[in-house]
Symmetry: C2
Subunit: 312 residues, 2 copies
Protein backbone atom coordinates (compact mmCIF):
# COMPACT_ATOMS: atom_id res chain seq x y z
CA UNK A 1 0.00 0.00 0.00
CA UNK A 2 1.37 3.41 -0.96
CA UNK A 3 1.80 6.11 1.65
CA UNK A 4 -1.20 7.89 0.14
CA UNK A 5 -3.42 4.81 0.22
CA UNK A 6 -2.39 4.15 3.83
CA UNK A 7 -3.06 7.76 4.76
CA UNK A 8 -6.52 7.76 3.19
CA UNK A 9 -7.31 4.41 4.83
CA UNK A 10 -6.36 5.95 8.18
CA UNK A 11 -8.46 9.04 7.44
CA UNK A 12 -11.46 6.79 6.73
CA UNK A 13 -11.29 5.67 10.35
CA UNK A 14 -12.00 9.19 11.55
CA UNK A 15 -14.71 9.89 8.97
CA UNK A 16 -18.30 9.02 9.75
CA UNK A 17 -20.46 11.83 8.29
CA UNK A 18 -22.45 10.51 5.30
CA UNK A 19 -21.58 13.72 3.41
CA UNK A 20 -17.96 12.55 3.27
CA UNK A 21 -19.14 9.63 1.11
CA UNK A 22 -16.54 7.38 2.72
CA UNK A 23 -13.82 9.49 1.03
CA UNK A 24 -14.60 7.48 -2.10
CA UNK A 25 -16.13 10.23 -4.18
CA UNK A 26 -14.81 13.37 -5.93
CA UNK A 27 -16.55 15.72 -3.53
CA UNK A 28 -18.44 16.00 -0.27
CA UNK A 29 -22.19 16.51 -0.41
CA UNK A 30 -24.16 17.98 2.47
CA UNK A 31 -27.50 19.62 3.05
CA UNK A 32 -26.84 23.36 3.33
CA UNK A 33 -28.01 25.25 6.42
CA UNK A 34 -31.56 26.56 6.13
CA UNK A 35 -32.27 30.16 7.01
CA UNK A 36 -28.66 30.80 8.00
CA UNK A 37 -25.63 32.19 6.24
CA UNK A 38 -22.86 29.91 5.00
CA UNK A 39 -19.43 30.89 6.36
CA UNK A 40 -16.28 29.57 4.67
CA UNK A 41 -12.67 29.99 5.72
CA UNK A 42 -9.37 28.49 4.57
CA UNK A 43 -6.18 28.79 6.60
CA UNK A 44 -2.88 27.13 5.91
CA UNK A 45 -0.09 26.36 8.33
CA UNK A 46 3.56 25.80 7.42
CA UNK A 47 6.52 24.33 9.24
CA UNK A 48 8.82 26.95 10.68
CA UNK A 49 6.12 29.62 10.47
CA UNK A 50 2.96 28.37 12.19
CA UNK A 51 4.48 25.34 13.86
CA UNK A 52 7.91 24.07 14.79
CA UNK A 53 9.44 20.94 13.23
CA UNK A 54 9.66 19.62 16.80
CA UNK A 55 5.94 20.07 17.56
CA UNK A 56 4.09 16.76 17.93
CA UNK A 57 2.19 15.93 14.69
CA UNK A 58 -1.03 15.37 16.64
CA UNK A 59 -0.77 18.91 18.03
CA UNK A 60 -0.13 20.30 14.54
CA UNK A 61 -3.33 18.61 13.36
CA UNK A 62 -5.20 20.16 16.29
CA UNK A 63 -3.80 23.58 15.45
CA UNK A 64 -4.74 23.28 11.78
CA UNK A 65 -8.36 22.65 12.71
CA UNK A 66 -8.38 25.11 15.62
CA UNK A 67 -7.07 28.12 13.68
CA UNK A 68 -9.80 27.62 11.10
CA UNK A 69 -12.50 27.16 13.74
CA UNK A 70 -11.25 30.37 15.34
CA UNK A 71 -12.11 32.22 12.12
CA UNK A 72 -15.59 30.70 12.29
CA UNK A 73 -15.83 31.74 15.96
CA UNK A 74 -15.10 35.33 14.98
CA UNK A 75 -18.10 35.20 12.64
CA UNK A 76 -20.35 33.78 15.36
CA UNK A 77 -20.58 30.61 13.30
CA UNK A 78 -21.26 27.03 14.31
CA UNK A 79 -18.97 24.60 12.44
CA UNK A 80 -20.49 22.32 9.80
CA UNK A 81 -17.44 20.43 8.56
CA UNK A 82 -13.81 20.48 7.49
CA UNK A 83 -11.92 19.64 4.30
CA UNK A 84 -8.23 18.75 4.57
CA UNK A 85 -5.36 19.58 2.20
CA UNK A 86 -2.51 17.32 3.26
CA UNK A 87 1.13 17.02 2.22
CA UNK A 88 2.63 13.54 2.53
CA UNK A 89 6.33 13.45 3.40
CA UNK A 90 7.30 9.76 3.23
CA UNK A 91 6.96 9.40 6.98
CA UNK A 92 4.01 7.08 7.67
CA UNK A 93 4.43 7.23 11.47
CA UNK A 94 4.22 11.03 11.38
CA UNK A 95 1.14 10.85 9.13
CA UNK A 96 -0.53 8.32 11.43
CA UNK A 97 0.03 10.56 14.45
CA UNK A 98 -1.35 13.52 12.52
CA UNK A 99 -4.51 11.62 11.57
CA UNK A 100 -5.02 10.45 15.15
CA UNK A 101 -4.67 14.03 16.39
CA UNK A 102 -7.02 15.32 13.73
CA UNK A 103 -9.57 12.71 14.73
CA UNK A 104 -9.36 13.78 18.37
CA UNK A 105 -9.68 17.44 17.43
CA UNK A 106 -12.68 16.78 15.16
CA UNK A 107 -14.32 14.81 17.97
CA UNK A 108 -13.55 17.46 20.56
CA UNK A 109 -15.12 20.25 18.51
CA UNK A 110 -17.86 18.09 17.00
CA UNK A 111 -16.74 18.92 13.47
CA UNK A 112 -16.98 16.16 10.85
CA UNK A 113 -14.14 15.71 8.38
CA UNK A 114 -15.83 15.78 4.98
CA UNK A 115 -13.00 15.17 2.52
CA UNK A 116 -9.81 16.55 1.15
CA UNK A 117 -6.81 15.91 -1.03
CA UNK A 118 -3.18 14.89 -0.62
CA UNK A 119 -0.01 15.80 -2.43
CA UNK A 120 3.38 14.17 -2.03
CA UNK A 121 6.28 16.27 -0.78
CA UNK A 122 9.78 15.70 -2.13
CA UNK A 123 12.74 15.29 0.23
CA UNK A 124 13.68 18.72 1.55
CA UNK A 125 10.22 20.25 1.10
CA UNK A 126 8.82 21.76 4.29
CA UNK A 127 5.49 20.51 5.53
CA UNK A 128 2.49 22.73 4.87
CA UNK A 129 -1.18 21.94 5.30
CA UNK A 130 -4.45 23.64 4.48
CA UNK A 131 -7.93 23.23 5.83
CA UNK A 132 -11.25 24.64 4.73
CA UNK A 133 -13.85 25.00 7.47
CA UNK A 134 -17.53 25.52 6.75
CA UNK A 135 -19.92 26.99 9.26
CA UNK A 136 -23.39 28.45 9.57
CA UNK A 137 -24.31 31.68 11.27
CA UNK A 138 -27.25 33.96 11.78
CA UNK A 139 -27.42 37.07 9.61
CA UNK A 140 -26.04 39.67 9.95
CA UNK A 141 -22.69 37.90 10.29
CA UNK A 142 -20.09 40.09 12.06
CA UNK A 143 -17.62 41.71 9.69
CA UNK A 144 -14.18 43.15 10.33
CA UNK A 145 -15.39 46.32 8.58
CA UNK A 146 -18.33 47.19 10.83
CA UNK A 147 -16.88 49.12 13.82
CA UNK A 148 -18.35 52.59 14.42
CA UNK A 149 -16.86 55.69 15.99
CA UNK A 150 -17.54 55.57 19.73
CA UNK A 151 -17.63 51.77 19.89
CA UNK A 152 -15.63 50.11 22.63
CA UNK A 153 -12.88 47.62 21.79
CA UNK A 154 -13.13 44.35 23.69
CA UNK A 155 -11.11 41.20 23.87
CA UNK A 156 -12.56 37.83 24.86
CA UNK A 157 -9.81 35.69 26.37
CA UNK A 158 -6.29 36.47 27.55
CA UNK A 159 -3.34 37.78 25.58
CA UNK A 160 0.25 36.61 25.34
CA UNK A 161 -0.09 33.02 26.60
CA UNK A 162 0.83 31.47 23.25
CA UNK A 163 3.69 33.95 22.73
CA UNK A 164 5.38 32.71 25.87
CA UNK A 165 4.38 29.17 24.95
CA UNK A 166 6.29 29.55 21.67
CA UNK A 167 9.40 30.66 23.56
CA UNK A 168 9.03 27.60 25.79
CA UNK A 169 8.58 25.31 22.76
CA UNK A 170 11.74 26.78 21.23
CA UNK A 171 13.63 26.07 24.45
CA UNK A 172 14.39 29.77 24.95
CA UNK A 173 12.78 29.93 28.39
CA UNK A 174 11.32 27.65 31.02
CA UNK A 175 7.66 27.98 31.82
CA UNK A 176 4.47 26.21 32.75
CA UNK A 177 3.01 23.50 30.54
CA UNK A 178 -0.22 25.49 30.36
CA UNK A 179 1.46 28.20 28.27
CA UNK A 180 3.13 25.64 25.99
CA UNK A 181 -0.34 24.18 25.53
CA UNK A 182 -1.75 27.59 24.65
CA UNK A 183 0.74 27.66 21.76
CA UNK A 184 0.34 24.09 20.58
CA UNK A 185 -3.33 23.41 21.29
CA UNK A 186 -5.21 26.69 20.86
CA UNK A 187 -8.88 26.72 21.84
CA UNK A 188 -11.14 28.53 19.38
CA UNK A 189 -13.83 30.51 21.21
CA UNK A 190 -16.79 29.07 19.33
CA UNK A 191 -19.44 29.40 22.05
CA UNK A 192 -18.31 32.90 22.96
CA UNK A 193 -18.35 33.98 19.31
CA UNK A 194 -21.90 32.72 18.86
CA UNK A 195 -23.05 34.47 22.05
CA UNK A 196 -21.32 37.75 21.21
CA UNK A 197 -22.20 37.95 17.51
CA UNK A 198 -25.62 39.64 18.00
CA UNK A 199 -24.02 42.36 20.15
CA UNK A 200 -20.95 43.35 18.13
CA UNK A 201 -20.44 45.75 15.24
CA UNK A 202 -17.17 44.08 14.18
CA UNK A 203 -15.33 40.94 15.24
CA UNK A 204 -12.12 39.11 14.31
CA UNK A 205 -9.88 36.58 15.95
CA UNK A 206 -6.36 37.41 17.10
CA UNK A 207 -3.95 35.30 15.12
CA UNK A 208 -1.03 37.64 14.42
CA UNK A 209 -1.19 39.72 17.61
CA UNK A 210 -3.53 42.03 19.49
CA UNK A 211 -2.11 45.27 18.13
CA UNK A 212 -2.00 44.27 14.49
CA UNK A 213 -5.44 42.67 14.57
CA UNK A 214 -6.92 45.73 16.32
CA UNK A 215 -5.30 47.97 13.72
CA UNK A 216 -6.83 45.81 10.98
CA UNK A 217 -10.35 46.23 12.39
CA UNK A 218 -9.79 50.00 12.62
CA UNK A 219 -8.43 50.22 9.09
CA UNK A 220 -11.15 48.00 7.61
CA UNK A 221 -13.76 50.15 9.38
CA UNK A 222 -12.16 53.47 8.38
CA UNK A 223 -11.50 54.48 12.00
CA UNK A 224 -8.73 55.01 14.54
CA UNK A 225 -8.41 52.79 17.58
CA UNK A 226 -6.94 53.54 21.02
CA UNK A 227 -5.78 50.66 23.23
CA UNK A 228 -5.35 50.93 27.00
CA UNK A 229 -2.39 48.63 27.51
CA UNK A 230 -3.01 48.35 31.26
CA UNK A 231 -6.45 46.91 30.56
CA UNK A 232 -5.17 44.12 28.27
CA UNK A 233 -6.01 40.90 30.12
CA UNK A 234 -3.05 38.73 31.04
CA UNK A 235 -3.49 35.27 32.54
CA UNK A 236 -1.94 34.59 35.97
CA UNK A 237 0.69 32.44 34.22
CA UNK A 238 1.65 35.27 31.88
CA UNK A 239 1.65 37.81 34.72
CA UNK A 240 4.44 35.81 36.35
CA UNK A 241 6.64 36.83 33.40
CA UNK A 242 6.01 40.51 34.19
CA UNK A 243 3.23 43.07 34.10
CA UNK A 244 5.19 46.19 33.25
CA UNK A 245 4.91 48.12 30.04
CA UNK A 246 7.50 46.01 28.26
CA UNK A 247 5.86 42.73 29.27
CA UNK A 248 2.45 43.99 28.20
CA UNK A 249 3.77 45.17 24.85
CA UNK A 250 5.37 41.77 24.34
CA UNK A 251 2.02 40.10 24.99
CA UNK A 252 0.18 42.53 22.71
CA UNK A 253 2.56 41.90 19.81
CA UNK A 254 2.89 38.12 20.04
CA UNK A 255 0.75 35.86 17.89
CA UNK A 256 -1.42 32.79 18.13
CA UNK A 257 -3.74 34.00 20.90
CA UNK A 258 -6.94 32.99 19.09
CA UNK A 259 -8.83 35.27 21.42
CA UNK A 260 -11.74 37.25 19.96
CA UNK A 261 -11.38 40.95 19.35
CA UNK A 262 -14.55 42.92 18.83
CA UNK A 263 -16.21 46.30 18.69
CA UNK A 264 -19.54 46.98 20.40
CA UNK A 265 -21.49 50.14 21.24
CA UNK A 266 -21.07 51.35 24.81
CA UNK A 267 -24.79 50.76 25.29
CA UNK A 268 -24.19 47.01 24.86
CA UNK A 269 -21.45 46.82 27.50
CA UNK A 270 -23.63 45.19 30.16
CA UNK A 271 -24.98 42.62 27.74
CA UNK A 272 -21.46 41.83 26.52
CA UNK A 273 -20.38 41.15 30.09
CA UNK A 274 -23.53 39.12 30.71
CA UNK A 275 -22.98 36.73 27.79
CA UNK A 276 -19.20 36.60 28.09
CA UNK A 277 -17.64 37.14 31.51
CA UNK A 278 -14.24 36.48 29.86
CA UNK A 279 -14.54 39.69 27.84
CA UNK A 280 -12.57 42.79 28.81
CA UNK A 281 -12.84 46.39 27.60
CA UNK A 282 -9.45 47.43 26.31
CA UNK A 283 -10.05 50.50 24.17
CA UNK A 284 -12.27 52.41 21.81
CA UNK A 285 -12.74 53.50 18.23
CA UNK A 286 -12.92 57.06 16.96
CA UNK A 287 -12.99 58.93 13.68
CA UNK A 288 -9.65 59.12 11.93
CA UNK A 289 -7.11 56.41 11.29
CA UNK A 290 -4.24 54.65 13.00
CA UNK A 291 -3.47 52.97 16.29
CA UNK A 292 -2.79 54.74 19.60
CA UNK A 293 -1.45 52.82 22.58
CA UNK A 294 -1.71 54.30 26.10
CA UNK A 295 -1.09 53.16 29.64
CA UNK A 296 -1.16 54.85 33.07
CA UNK A 297 2.06 56.68 32.20
CA UNK A 298 0.83 58.13 28.94
CA UNK A 299 1.06 57.44 25.24
CA UNK A 300 3.47 54.79 24.00
CA UNK A 301 5.35 54.92 20.73
CA UNK A 302 3.68 52.54 18.29
CA UNK A 303 6.14 49.74 17.53
CA UNK A 304 7.20 49.21 13.94
CA UNK A 305 6.29 45.53 14.24
CA UNK A 306 2.73 45.25 15.50
CA UNK A 307 2.57 41.48 15.53
CA UNK A 308 3.72 38.20 14.16
CA UNK A 309 3.13 38.20 10.42
CA UNK A 310 2.59 34.55 9.68
CA UNK A 311 2.73 34.97 5.96
CA UNK A 312 6.01 36.83 5.78
Amino acid sequence: MSDEAAFIAALRNIVSHPGARGLLDDAAVIAPPVGRELVITHDMIAEGVHFLPSDPPSDIAWKLLAVNLSDLAAKGAKPIGAILGYALAEDPAWDAAFVAGLGRACDHFGVPLLGGDTIALKPGDRRAFGLTALGEAAAPVPDRRGARAGDLLWVCGTIGDAGIGLAIARGEIEGPRKLLKAYRLPMPKLKEGQALAPLVTAMADISDGLLIDAARIAEASGLSVTIDLDAVPLSPDVQRFGTDRQARMRAATSGDDYALLFAAPESEADRVQAVSAASTRIGSFAAGSGLLIRDRDGVLPTPSKLGFLHAS
Copy 2:
Protein backbone atom coordinates in the same frame (compact mmCIF):
# COMPACT_ATOMS: atom_id res chain seq x y z
CA MET B 1 4.55 46.65 0.42
CA SER B 2 5.36 43.01 1.24
CA ASP B 3 4.92 40.31 -1.38
CA GLU B 4 1.86 39.12 0.53
CA ALA B 5 0.27 42.57 0.70
CA ALA B 6 0.94 43.08 -3.01
CA PHE B 7 -0.54 39.66 -3.80
CA ILE B 8 -3.69 40.32 -1.80
CA ALA B 9 -4.03 43.77 -3.35
CA ALA B 10 -3.85 42.13 -6.78
CA LEU B 11 -6.38 39.49 -5.74
CA ARG B 12 -8.78 42.26 -4.67
CA ASN B 13 -8.88 43.39 -8.29
CA ILE B 14 -10.41 40.08 -9.34
CA VAL B 15 -12.84 39.89 -6.41
CA SER B 16 -16.27 41.43 -6.73
CA HIS B 17 -18.71 39.07 -4.96
CA PRO B 18 -20.00 40.70 -1.74
CA GLY B 19 -19.51 37.37 0.05
CA ALA B 20 -15.75 37.82 -0.30
CA ARG B 21 -16.04 40.88 1.97
CA GLY B 22 -13.30 42.62 0.00
CA LEU B 23 -10.84 40.01 1.33
CA LEU B 24 -10.81 42.10 4.51
CA ASP B 25 -12.54 39.62 6.81
CA ASP B 26 -11.62 36.29 8.41
CA ALA B 27 -14.08 34.36 6.30
CA ALA B 28 -16.39 34.48 3.31
CA VAL B 29 -20.12 34.70 3.96
CA ILE B 30 -22.70 33.67 1.38
CA ALA B 31 -26.34 32.71 1.27
CA PRO B 32 -26.46 28.93 0.95
CA PRO B 33 -28.38 27.34 -1.92
CA VAL B 34 -32.04 26.74 -1.16
CA GLY B 35 -33.54 23.34 -1.89
CA ARG B 36 -30.28 22.02 -3.34
CA GLU B 37 -27.35 20.06 -1.98
CA LEU B 38 -24.06 21.75 -1.15
CA VAL B 39 -21.10 20.15 -2.94
CA ILE B 40 -17.56 20.82 -1.71
CA THR B 41 -14.26 19.74 -3.22
CA HIS B 42 -10.62 20.55 -2.54
CA ASP B 43 -7.84 19.66 -4.96
CA MET B 44 -4.22 20.65 -4.72
CA ILE B 45 -1.69 20.89 -7.53
CA ALA B 46 2.08 20.72 -7.10
CA GLU B 47 5.00 21.62 -9.32
CA GLY B 48 6.56 18.62 -11.02
CA VAL B 49 3.44 16.52 -10.41
CA HIS B 50 0.39 18.39 -11.70
CA PHE B 51 2.22 21.09 -13.60
CA LEU B 52 5.68 21.68 -15.01
CA PRO B 53 7.96 24.44 -13.71
CA SER B 54 7.96 25.76 -17.28
CA ASP B 55 4.16 26.02 -17.54
CA PRO B 56 2.93 29.65 -17.70
CA PRO B 57 1.68 30.79 -14.27
CA SER B 58 -1.60 31.98 -15.77
CA ASP B 59 -2.20 28.47 -17.14
CA ILE B 60 -1.39 26.94 -13.74
CA ALA B 61 -4.03 29.19 -12.16
CA TRP B 62 -6.52 28.07 -14.79
CA LYS B 63 -5.69 24.43 -14.11
CA LEU B 64 -6.07 24.87 -10.36
CA LEU B 65 -9.60 26.18 -10.80
CA ALA B 66 -10.47 23.82 -13.66
CA VAL B 67 -9.52 20.58 -11.87
CA ASN B 68 -11.74 21.55 -8.95
CA LEU B 69 -14.61 22.56 -11.22
CA SER B 70 -14.22 19.19 -12.94
CA ASP B 71 -15.00 17.51 -9.61
CA LEU B 72 -18.11 19.66 -9.33
CA ALA B 73 -19.03 18.74 -12.92
CA ALA B 74 -18.87 15.06 -11.99
CA LYS B 75 -21.46 15.75 -9.29
CA GLY B 76 -23.73 17.60 -11.70
CA ALA B 77 -23.09 20.73 -9.66
CA LYS B 78 -23.19 24.39 -10.62
CA PRO B 79 -20.24 26.30 -9.11
CA ILE B 80 -20.94 28.81 -6.32
CA GLY B 81 -17.45 30.04 -5.52
CA ALA B 82 -13.79 29.30 -4.95
CA ILE B 83 -11.37 29.71 -2.04
CA LEU B 84 -7.64 29.88 -2.81
CA GLY B 85 -4.71 28.48 -0.83
CA TYR B 86 -1.63 30.17 -2.29
CA ALA B 87 2.10 29.73 -1.74
CA LEU B 88 4.19 32.89 -2.29
CA ALA B 89 7.69 32.26 -3.67
CA GLU B 90 9.35 35.70 -3.65
CA ASP B 91 8.60 36.16 -7.32
CA PRO B 92 6.08 39.02 -7.65
CA ALA B 93 5.96 38.84 -11.45
CA TRP B 94 5.03 35.16 -11.30
CA ASP B 95 2.37 35.89 -8.67
CA ALA B 96 0.92 38.73 -10.76
CA ALA B 97 0.66 36.47 -13.80
CA PHE B 98 -1.01 33.80 -11.67
CA VAL B 99 -3.59 36.26 -10.33
CA ALA B 100 -4.33 37.55 -13.83
CA GLY B 101 -4.84 33.97 -15.04
CA LEU B 102 -7.03 33.13 -12.08
CA GLY B 103 -9.14 36.20 -12.77
CA ARG B 104 -9.62 35.17 -16.39
CA ALA B 105 -10.50 31.61 -15.37
CA CYS B 106 -13.01 32.81 -12.75
CA ASP B 107 -14.59 35.10 -15.33
CA HIS B 108 -14.69 32.37 -17.96
CA PHE B 109 -16.48 29.91 -15.69
CA GLY B 110 -18.55 32.54 -13.87
CA VAL B 111 -17.13 31.47 -10.50
CA PRO B 112 -16.49 34.19 -7.91
CA LEU B 113 -13.31 34.06 -5.84
CA LEU B 114 -14.52 34.27 -2.24
CA GLY B 115 -11.32 34.29 -0.19
CA GLY B 116 -8.30 32.30 0.79
CA ASP B 117 -4.97 32.32 2.52
CA THR B 118 -1.31 32.62 1.61
CA ILE B 119 1.83 31.10 3.00
CA ALA B 120 5.40 32.04 2.15
CA LEU B 121 7.66 29.45 0.54
CA LYS B 122 11.34 29.31 1.41
CA PRO B 123 13.98 29.17 -1.33
CA GLY B 124 14.08 25.62 -2.71
CA ASP B 125 10.47 24.81 -1.81
CA ARG B 126 8.40 23.64 -4.74
CA ARG B 127 5.24 25.53 -5.55
CA ALA B 128 1.98 23.92 -4.48
CA PHE B 129 -1.51 25.39 -4.43
CA GLY B 130 -4.90 24.36 -3.15
CA LEU B 131 -8.38 25.44 -4.04
CA THR B 132 -11.73 24.69 -2.50
CA ALA B 133 -14.69 24.87 -4.86
CA LEU B 134 -18.27 25.04 -3.66
CA GLY B 135 -21.21 24.10 -5.81
CA GLU B 136 -24.89 23.35 -5.63
CA ALA B 137 -26.64 20.36 -7.14
CA ALA B 138 -30.02 18.70 -7.24
CA ALA B 139 -30.49 15.66 -5.02
CA PRO B 140 -29.68 12.84 -5.50
CA VAL B 141 -26.14 13.95 -6.30
CA PRO B 142 -24.25 11.31 -8.37
CA ASP B 143 -21.84 9.23 -6.32
CA ARG B 144 -18.87 7.14 -7.41
CA ARG B 145 -20.41 4.26 -5.47
CA GLY B 146 -23.75 3.97 -7.28
CA ALA B 147 -23.10 1.86 -10.40
CA ARG B 148 -25.26 -1.27 -10.76
CA ALA B 149 -24.62 -4.58 -12.48
CA GLY B 150 -25.75 -4.28 -16.08
CA ASP B 151 -25.14 -0.53 -16.28
CA LEU B 152 -23.24 0.75 -19.28
CA LEU B 153 -19.99 2.67 -18.86
CA TRP B 154 -19.84 5.96 -20.73
CA VAL B 155 -17.30 8.66 -21.24
CA CYS B 156 -18.20 12.25 -22.08
CA GLY B 157 -15.29 13.82 -23.95
CA THR B 158 -12.20 12.41 -25.61
CA ILE B 159 -9.32 10.53 -24.03
CA GLY B 160 -5.57 10.99 -24.26
CA ASP B 161 -5.37 14.57 -25.53
CA ALA B 162 -3.73 15.88 -22.34
CA GLY B 163 -1.38 12.90 -22.16
CA ILE B 164 0.10 13.83 -25.53
CA GLY B 165 -0.06 17.49 -24.52
CA LEU B 166 2.15 16.71 -21.53
CA ALA B 167 4.71 15.03 -23.81
CA ILE B 168 4.65 18.15 -26.00
CA ALA B 169 5.05 20.43 -22.96
CA ARG B 170 8.02 18.34 -21.85
CA GLY B 171 9.61 18.73 -25.27
CA GLU B 172 9.54 14.95 -25.83
CA ILE B 173 7.48 15.16 -29.02
CA GLU B 174 6.17 17.71 -31.48
CA GLY B 175 2.44 18.12 -31.77
CA PRO B 176 -0.46 20.48 -32.32
CA ARG B 177 -1.05 23.40 -29.96
CA LYS B 178 -4.56 22.05 -29.33
CA LEU B 179 -3.15 19.05 -27.44
CA LEU B 180 -0.74 21.21 -25.45
CA LYS B 181 -3.78 23.31 -24.56
CA ALA B 182 -5.69 20.21 -23.44
CA TYR B 183 -2.90 19.62 -20.90
CA ARG B 184 -2.45 23.20 -19.73
CA LEU B 185 -5.98 24.59 -19.96
CA PRO B 186 -8.39 21.72 -19.25
CA MET B 187 -12.09 22.41 -19.73
CA PRO B 188 -14.31 21.03 -16.97
CA LYS B 189 -17.54 19.64 -18.40
CA LEU B 190 -19.90 21.58 -16.16
CA LYS B 191 -22.89 21.80 -18.50
CA GLU B 192 -22.58 18.16 -19.50
CA GLY B 193 -22.34 17.08 -15.86
CA GLN B 194 -25.50 18.98 -14.98
CA ALA B 195 -27.37 17.53 -17.96
CA LEU B 196 -26.21 13.97 -17.31
CA ALA B 197 -26.62 13.88 -13.52
CA PRO B 198 -30.31 12.89 -13.53
CA LEU B 199 -29.59 9.94 -15.84
CA VAL B 200 -26.53 8.36 -14.22
CA THR B 201 -26.10 5.87 -11.39
CA ALA B 202 -22.46 6.87 -10.79
CA MET B 203 -20.20 9.61 -12.13
CA ALA B 204 -16.61 10.76 -11.66
CA ASP B 205 -14.17 12.84 -13.63
CA ILE B 206 -11.06 11.35 -15.22
CA SER B 207 -8.05 12.95 -13.61
CA ASP B 208 -5.58 10.08 -13.27
CA GLY B 209 -6.54 8.10 -16.38
CA LEU B 210 -9.51 6.32 -17.91
CA LEU B 211 -8.56 2.83 -16.71
CA ILE B 212 -7.81 3.75 -13.12
CA ASP B 213 -10.84 5.99 -12.78
CA ALA B 214 -13.10 3.30 -14.27
CA ALA B 215 -11.61 0.75 -11.87
CA ARG B 216 -12.33 3.14 -8.98
CA ILE B 217 -16.02 3.42 -9.91
CA ALA B 218 -16.22 -0.38 -10.16
CA GLU B 219 -14.47 -0.90 -6.83
CA ALA B 220 -16.50 1.77 -5.03
CA SER B 221 -19.68 0.20 -6.42
CA GLY B 222 -18.63 -3.40 -5.60
CA LEU B 223 -18.66 -4.46 -9.26
CA SER B 224 -16.41 -5.48 -12.12
CA VAL B 225 -16.07 -3.34 -15.23
CA THR B 226 -15.24 -4.31 -18.80
CA ILE B 227 -13.87 -1.70 -21.19
CA ASP B 228 -13.98 -1.98 -24.97
CA LEU B 229 -10.72 -0.27 -25.90
CA ASP B 230 -11.78 0.16 -29.54
CA ALA B 231 -14.75 2.25 -28.39
CA VAL B 232 -12.67 4.70 -26.35
CA PRO B 233 -13.12 8.05 -28.12
CA LEU B 234 -9.92 9.61 -29.46
CA SER B 235 -9.90 13.11 -30.92
CA PRO B 236 -8.71 13.53 -34.54
CA ASP B 237 -5.50 15.11 -33.17
CA VAL B 238 -4.81 12.12 -30.95
CA GLN B 239 -5.65 9.67 -33.74
CA ARG B 240 -2.77 11.10 -35.73
CA PHE B 241 -0.46 9.63 -33.09
CA GLY B 242 -1.88 6.16 -33.75
CA THR B 243 -5.07 4.18 -33.26
CA ASP B 244 -3.64 0.73 -32.63
CA ARG B 245 -3.87 -1.17 -29.39
CA GLN B 246 -0.70 0.40 -27.99
CA ALA B 247 -1.80 3.94 -28.83
CA ARG B 248 -5.22 3.36 -27.28
CA MET B 249 -3.71 1.90 -24.13
CA ARG B 250 -1.42 4.93 -23.90
CA ALA B 251 -4.46 7.21 -24.11
CA ALA B 252 -6.42 5.17 -21.59
CA THR B 253 -3.60 5.28 -19.03
CA SER B 254 -2.59 8.93 -19.36
CA GLY B 255 -3.96 11.52 -16.95
CA ASP B 256 -5.51 14.97 -16.97
CA ASP B 257 -8.36 14.25 -19.38
CA TYR B 258 -11.04 15.85 -17.18
CA ALA B 259 -13.63 14.00 -19.20
CA LEU B 260 -16.64 12.60 -17.34
CA LEU B 261 -16.91 8.88 -16.73
CA PHE B 262 -20.31 7.55 -15.77
CA ALA B 263 -22.55 4.55 -15.36
CA ALA B 264 -26.13 4.54 -16.60
CA PRO B 265 -28.75 1.84 -17.14
CA GLU B 266 -29.04 0.61 -20.72
CA SER B 267 -32.63 1.93 -20.70
CA GLU B 268 -31.28 5.47 -20.40
CA ALA B 269 -28.93 5.16 -23.39
CA ASP B 270 -31.08 7.21 -25.76
CA ARG B 271 -31.58 9.98 -23.21
CA VAL B 272 -27.85 10.06 -22.49
CA GLN B 273 -27.13 10.57 -26.19
CA ALA B 274 -29.88 13.18 -26.40
CA VAL B 275 -28.51 15.39 -23.62
CA SER B 276 -24.84 14.79 -24.42
CA ALA B 277 -23.88 14.00 -27.99
CA ALA B 278 -20.24 13.96 -26.83
CA SER B 279 -20.89 10.84 -24.74
CA THR B 280 -19.68 7.43 -25.92
CA ARG B 281 -20.48 3.93 -24.64
CA ILE B 282 -17.21 2.24 -23.80
CA GLY B 283 -18.09 -0.67 -21.56
CA SER B 284 -20.31 -2.17 -18.92
CA PHE B 285 -20.49 -3.20 -15.27
CA ALA B 286 -21.19 -6.66 -13.93
CA ALA B 287 -21.17 -8.55 -10.65
CA GLY B 288 -17.73 -9.39 -9.33
CA SER B 289 -14.67 -7.23 -9.10
CA GLY B 290 -11.76 -6.02 -11.20
CA LEU B 291 -11.12 -4.47 -14.60
CA LEU B 292 -11.26 -6.31 -17.92
CA ILE B 293 -9.98 -4.65 -21.10
CA ARG B 294 -10.97 -5.99 -24.50
CA ASP B 295 -10.61 -4.96 -28.10
CA ARG B 296 -11.48 -6.55 -31.46
CA ASP B 297 -8.60 -8.98 -31.02
CA GLY B 298 -9.63 -10.21 -27.60
CA VAL B 299 -8.79 -9.63 -23.98
CA LEU B 300 -5.76 -7.49 -23.10
CA PRO B 301 -3.52 -8.04 -20.12
CA THR B 302 -4.36 -5.42 -17.51
CA PRO B 303 -1.33 -3.16 -17.15
CA SER B 304 0.27 -2.88 -13.73
CA LYS B 305 0.07 0.89 -13.97
CA LEU B 306 -3.52 1.89 -14.73
CA GLY B 307 -2.95 5.61 -14.78
CA PHE B 308 -1.01 8.60 -13.64
CA LEU B 309 -1.10 8.67 -9.87
CA HIS B 310 -0.80 12.35 -9.12
CA ALA B 311 -0.22 11.85 -5.42
CA SER B 312 2.62 9.37 -5.70
